[in-house]
Every structure is written in C-alpha cells, then in structure tokens.
C-alpha cells in the first residue's frame, strides 16, 4: 500500500515537472484541472477574456480534467466556466463564481480553480460533509476532552504544590521545573540508554522521587532548620527554578525534542472526539495515580499523618508524628507525581526546557481555585482550570486562553479568597 502511495506521489511529481517546464519556457498562461470529488470532469468549456473584455482564448477540459489557455502577456484576465457544459449532477460549488478575475504575472503560468460539487438540477450544491452546528459541537466536545487531558496533568502537578504548601508553607515556584526535570530524566533513559518509554517512565518517576527526597533532605529541610522565612524561601524557589530551567537548556538545548516512542500517532475517533491511543493511556495512568494518591491520603496512616501535618504541624508534632519525615515523603511523592506529569506532557505534546514553566501558573491557578493547601481542592481546581482553558477558546482567541484562566484566578480571589474547597479562616 505504502509503495503504491510513493509511486503515485512520484508520478504526480513527475507530472508536475513535465507540466511546469513548458509553461516556464513558453511564457504566460492560465490553466487548471476540473475535478469533482477527486474525479476529473471533462468537456467543460472555459473562456478567457482580457481585463477590458476582449476574448483571448477558449479551452475545453480533457479526459484528465485539465485545460489551459495561453495568454499574450502578464495582466488581469477574466476566466469564465460555461455552466451549461457541466455534466449532469455536477454543479459549481459556488454558483456566483463562474467568472473569476485572475492576475497573471510575468513569465509564469497561473492556476485557476473552479470548485465543483455534486448537485441537483437546480444547481444547488449538496452541503459538504461535517459543516454547520454539528461541527461546532464536535469542536466543543474536542475541547472539553483536551481540557480534561490538560486538567489531569495540571492536577498531578498541583497535587505536589498543594501538599508541599500544606506541610511546609512553601509556595514552590520551582514546581514547574520538577515536571520538566522528570520529563527529561525519562528522556535520558529513553533516548540515551535506549529504554522503551514504558520502562523509562517508572524508572524516571523513581529517580524523580529520589530527587525530591534529596532536595528536601539536603536543601529545603536545612533551610527550614535555619529558620529561613517563608518569603525568603519563596524567592529562593525562584532562584532554584531559574537554575534548573537553564541547566536543562544547557544540557539539552532549546529545541523541541520528542521521546523515541509514540511520536505523531495517528488519531482515533472516540464518538465526536479525536484522540490518540497514547493520550488515552496517559489519561488512564493519570486518573489511576490521582485516585491512588487520593485514597492513600484518606485511608493510610501515612496519608492521615500528612493531612494532620498539613492541618497543623505543631499539633501533629506534639501528637507524636515525625513531621520532618512526613515532609520528606511529601517532597518525594510530590516530585515523583510532578515528574510523571512531565512525562505525560512530553508524551502527549513534546519536550522542551520551558514545558513546566508554561504550566506553572495554570497549576497555581488550580491550587488557588481549590484553596491553597487542600489536596482535594487542588484536584478539583486543576480540572476546572484545564477545562476552562480549553473550552474558553470557543469565545476567545486561543493565544489568550491562559489569560482567561489567570483572570478567573484573580476574580476568584476577589470574591472567595479561600478557593472552592478552602476554609475561610485560612486567609491571613
């Protein structure tokens, strides 16, 4: 099959050259190919007049649908298709475009296209497939699906931000880079060591967890012990973010790079929505991880301890919980989940040293919307943000979709500063 395609393409290319050369040599002409749904339409009369109405020439489309009229010089010409000569069942797609004004340039031929369609005797073309309101709803569905996909990734990142904030009070501006780092760890395993992405991913998540643990153990923890203020730590996190981001730029360059597997997969249709198998699998993994973390937070000893520390570190400490240990576990887990989010982002989109930074504000929006420091709020907030960002492009230009989310973030803080699920007294 592929061979046939190549052959056909080569044939087309050859045809193109054959056709192009004479025009190149002979000077100016008007030409075109009449087709209806891929089938050539022959026997159709085309007449050409000069800009001031003088007849220049005529042609009739051949068996291959092609026609050509030589013109004496560059200039403006009127090209008319005689609708009476169209075969039965074939009409002009746009009835008012039987005559076209065409500019011919010096030394070049000029192609002219008459769009044809199947139609009844009245000449009304049957509507092309997939137009109108159904296309609109298809787009809404597509965007909602994209929103869910984005929201899940944001949620994975936001979970870490929220837990780290809850347990340590730190608003970590380097969290976006934790996504990027995770994605690039997997890239190294995948690309340099040649491991399949399905193997590289869990390994990368483990390495990311180690990175998070180490960061807390050797950096943030000691800083807290030095009684470094929270504002100070926030600015330090910015320094860390810059350092990590440009370290990745240094190591991997600024180009967009893909993983070895699952690049440019063909779309599959899922009801009204187009997606790729890898997106579905990624979403499945994301949902599974989110549910697992949610259950762990709710039911396991460790999860309960984490929430206790999040609620009140002093009280948790006094009731015998090892706060430092909990914080280290939270960092390890938060970084691991962020790394996973990065890998998923890299798989469904592409890897770039700025990929994490680009979603950082969306993660913050998700966390804030849900209420700083409440893990479940962060999940809900992130999904809302993801959906909102994508669906809003129906009304606002796509490049402003982030603006929409950020504006909503500010408005939410104005009316309900504690977020959707936050408690009122948490605000200073």
């Amino acid at each position: 099959m592929r061979r046939a395609v190549i052959a056909f393409t080569a044939f087309l290319g050859a045809l193109f050259i054959l056709l192009a050369s004479p025009a190149w040599a002979e000077g100016e002409s008007l030409r075109g190919t009449l087709q209806n749904q891929g089938q050539p339409v022959n026997g159709v009369k085309i007449s050409v007049t000069s800009g001031d109405g003088q007849p220049v020439g005529e042609a009739t489309s051949g068996a291959d649908g092609k026609w050509e009229v030589q013109v004496p010089a560059a200039g403006s010409y009127k090209v008319t298709l005689d609708q009476a000569t169209l075969p039965a069942g074939t009409v002009l797609k746009f009835k008012d475009r039987a005559t076209l004004s065409v500019q011919v340039f010096e030394g070049n031929y000029r192609n002219v296209l008459f769009a044809l369609a199947s139609g009844d005797a009245a000449g009304v073309a049957t509507p092309p497939d997939g137009g109108g309101s159904s296309a609109f709803w298809t787009r809404v569905a597509q965007l909602a699906f994209e929103g869910l996909s984005l929201g899940l990734i944001i949620a994975l990142g936001a979970l870490g931000i929220s837990l780290i904030f809850g347990t340590t009070g730190l608003t970590n501006f380097a969290h976006g880079e934790l996504l990027t780092v995770g994605a690039f760890i997997a890239f190294v395993l995948n690309s340099t060591f040649g491991l399949h992405l399905l193997i590289a991913t869990p390994l990368a998540v483990i390495v990311a967890a180690g990175f998070g643990y180490g960061q807390e153990r050797f950096f943030w923890g000691p800083l807290r012990n030095r009684k470094t203020g929270l504002v100070s730590m926030m600015i330090i996190s910015i320094g860390v973010a810059m350092f990590l981001r440009y370290l990745l730029l240094f190591l991997f360059g600024g180009e967009n790079v893909p993983y070895e597997q699952y690049v440019a997969q063909d779309g599959i249709k899922l009801g009204p929505v187009f997606t790729t198998p890898k997106s579905l699998i990624a979403m499945g993994i994301e949902i599974a991880v989110l549910i697992a973390v949610g259950l762990a937070l709710t039911f396991t000893r460790l999860g309960k301890a984490t929430r206790a520390v999040s609620d009140n570190p002093a009280l948790a400490a006094s009731s015998g919980i090892n706060v430092d240990r909990i914080i280290r576990i939270v960092w390890a887990m938060g970084t691991a989940v962020a790394g996973l989010a990065g890998i998923m982002l890299g798989t469904t989109q592409i890897l770039n040293f700025q990929m994490g930074q680009q979603v950082l504000l969306l993660m913050f929006a998700g966390v804030t919307l849900g209420g700083l420091g409440t893990a479940f709020g962060a999940l809900v907030g992130s999904l809302v943000v993801g959906m909102f960002v994508q669906i809003s492009t129906i009304w606002i230009p796509p490049e402003l979709k982030t603006v929409g989310a950020l504006a909503v973030l500010i408005l939410v803080l104005l009316v309900r500063p504690q977020g959707i699920l936050g408690r009122r007294e948490r605000i200073g």
Binding site: K227, N312, A314, L315, R423, R424, E425
Partner: protein, 308 residues
C-alpha cells in the same frame, strides 16, 4: 484634668452600683452597646453575644476560660474580623461594618494578645506612628519636610511625655525589638494612647509579663481610667481581675454567661462551673480545640520571634 484617683474609681463604682448582676444588664451611661453579635467558623459558633453594655469611665474586664471566644469577640468589635450578624454602637453611633482603622480613628483603640510592638522601628517611631491626622502621612506632602516637620515636633513632645510616664524614656531610640516582653506591652499601651482614644481595649495585657512588672502594668491600666478613658480588657486569669476592674463580664463557649462586680462574679457558681468544666469535665468542642491550637501556635511563633 488630673482628677483625684479615688474619685474616678468611686464614680465608676457608684454608677455601676445599681446595675443588676445578670448577663446583658443595662448600664447608666454606656459607651459601647452590643446586640446579637454572632460569628461562626464553618459550622461552629465561636461568638454569640446577645446584649452587652460597657459603662463609660469604668474598667471592665472580659474574662472566660480559654476558647470562650473573648478574642474573637474583640476582633468583631474592632473591625479586625467580620461578624456574621449583629450590631453594636460606640458613643451611640453604629459600628458594624466599620473597618479596623476607622474604629481606631473614632476612639476605640485596641492592643493585641501577642504584642505587636513594631520591633524593627525605634521606640520613638512606634510612638509617632500612633499620632493621628499627620500631615506628613500624605505622599505628596511627605516630599517637603517643611510641611510636616513642625507637627512632627509636636508629636515628638507628646510622645516623650507618654514615654516618661510609662518609664520608657531611656529606651527612646532603641529598636522596639530590643525591649523585654513587659516593656513591649507598655510600649503598645503608650502607643495606643498616642491615638487619643476614648475606649482602650486591651487583649490580655498581663499575658507573658513577669510578675514583677504585672503590678506596674496594672497601675498603668488604672491610670487610664483616671485619665478619663474607658478600659475594656480581656483576661483569662480571674485573680488578676479582682484588683483593678470595676465590672466583670464572663464569657464561655461564645456567650456571656454572667456579669457583675468582681466579688459577686468570683462567687458565681456558673462562672466556676465554666472554668472548671472547660478544663476538666466536658470534652472540648472543635471551636475550642481550634482556639487552643491557635494560642499554642501563637505562643510558638512568639517564641520563635524571641529567638530570632
């Protein structure tokens, strides 16, 4: 201006003599009247005060066990927190919805349980900050020192007088952060006086102060009354109250459960129940637990601040 000490106290006692010892009792000359103030956190009611009046020119103590909602109630009255419902008047003017700084400008000035002496400013700067209607606090006038310097000098003179009175004159140019806990309390009180208040609201003025200084602090509180001001102060230690207050209001679980002269209150069974009950019998409500937590946290923070 300096009236006889005995006189002021006697006046206040005389005015309150005919007031019945029951929650919400009307006073002959109330400066502050509170009606149905309610504050809820989530589903928990932290404050639910039906009716309270504060007698002008008196020292009124607001006591209650930990978590009784005293500080929350204070916060409602001074605009630092928004009440869910209720109304209160100061000098007959409605005060609900009035923002914290407006409350202060109208003559109701408070201090805080955890002293908020601005430790990175000098003692004198702290004092000057309290003065009202400063011309130099306008951005454009601030650019021209000639426009505000004369007023600043007047303010400095007034501040120096107050500092002398509070025995802080020697510390004039020290950072407030270098003062001891008790001195900070004194500074905060002196600074509050710079505002020129009619009603001084002190949140646990004796908390965290070493016993030697307590008497001096109490003296200053009494002195406020002698200066013609009304004092409302929060305290959770009953014994501390007996000496200086003219009237005591008792809160427990967010409501006023008793009020009356100190001696009457000390003997009141409901009050003793409330104190003992809260500590020993009944399980803590979540609100109380939270209140306690807040206090624990606050104390911890204070400790950290001390060390820093």
């Amino acid at each position: 201006m300096h009236a006889d000490t005995v006189n002021r106290k006697a006046e206040a006692l005389a005015a309150l003599a005919s007031v019945p010892s029951e929650p919400g009792a009307p006073k002959p000359d109330p400066i502050l009247v509170v009606d149905n103030v309610v504050r809820r956190f989530g589903g928990l009611t932290a404050v639910e005060v039906e009716h309270v009046e504060i007698q002008r020119g008196s020292i009124t103590a607001l006591i209650g066990p930990n978590g009784a909602g005293k500080t929350t109630f204070f916060n409602q009255l001074t605009g630092f927190d928004t009440a869910d419902s209720g109304a209160w008047t100061f000098n007959g003017k409605p005060m609900n919805g009035v923002s914290a700084h407006q409350v202060a400008r109208r003559g109701m000035v408070r201090t805080f349980q955890l002293t908020k002496a601005l430790s990175k400013l000098t003692v004198m700067e702290n004092m000057r900050l309290g003065a009202q209607k400063q011309r130099g606090e306008n951005f454009f006038r601030a650019l021209f020192s000639g426009l505000w310097q004369p007023q600043e000098d007047e303010i400095t003179v007034r501040a120096e007088e107050l500092l002398e009175r509070f025995k802080l004159g020697a510390k004039r140019d020290d950072f407030a952060g270098s003062l001891s806990g008790g001195q900070r309390k004194l500074l905060e009180m002196a600074r509050a006086l710079m505002v020129g208040p009619e009603l001084v609201m002190l949140d646990e003025p004796m908390a965290g102060v070493n016993p030697a200084l307590t008497q001096s602090l109490l003296g200053h509180v009494k002195d406020l009354r002698e200066q013609g001001m009304t004092v409302l102060f929060v305290e959770h230690d009953m014994d501390m109250v007996r000496d200086i207050s003219d009237w005591v209001i008792v809160m427990a679980q967010g409501t006023v459960i008793a009020e009356g002269p100190p001696d009457t209150i000390m003997a009141d069974a409901r009050v003793i129940d409330a104190y003992l009950g809260a500590h020993h019998d009944a399980p803590l409500t979540t609100a109380e637990a939270e209140e306690q937590l807040h206090q624990a946290e606050a104390e911890l923070e204070a400790e950290i601040e001390e060390k820093a």
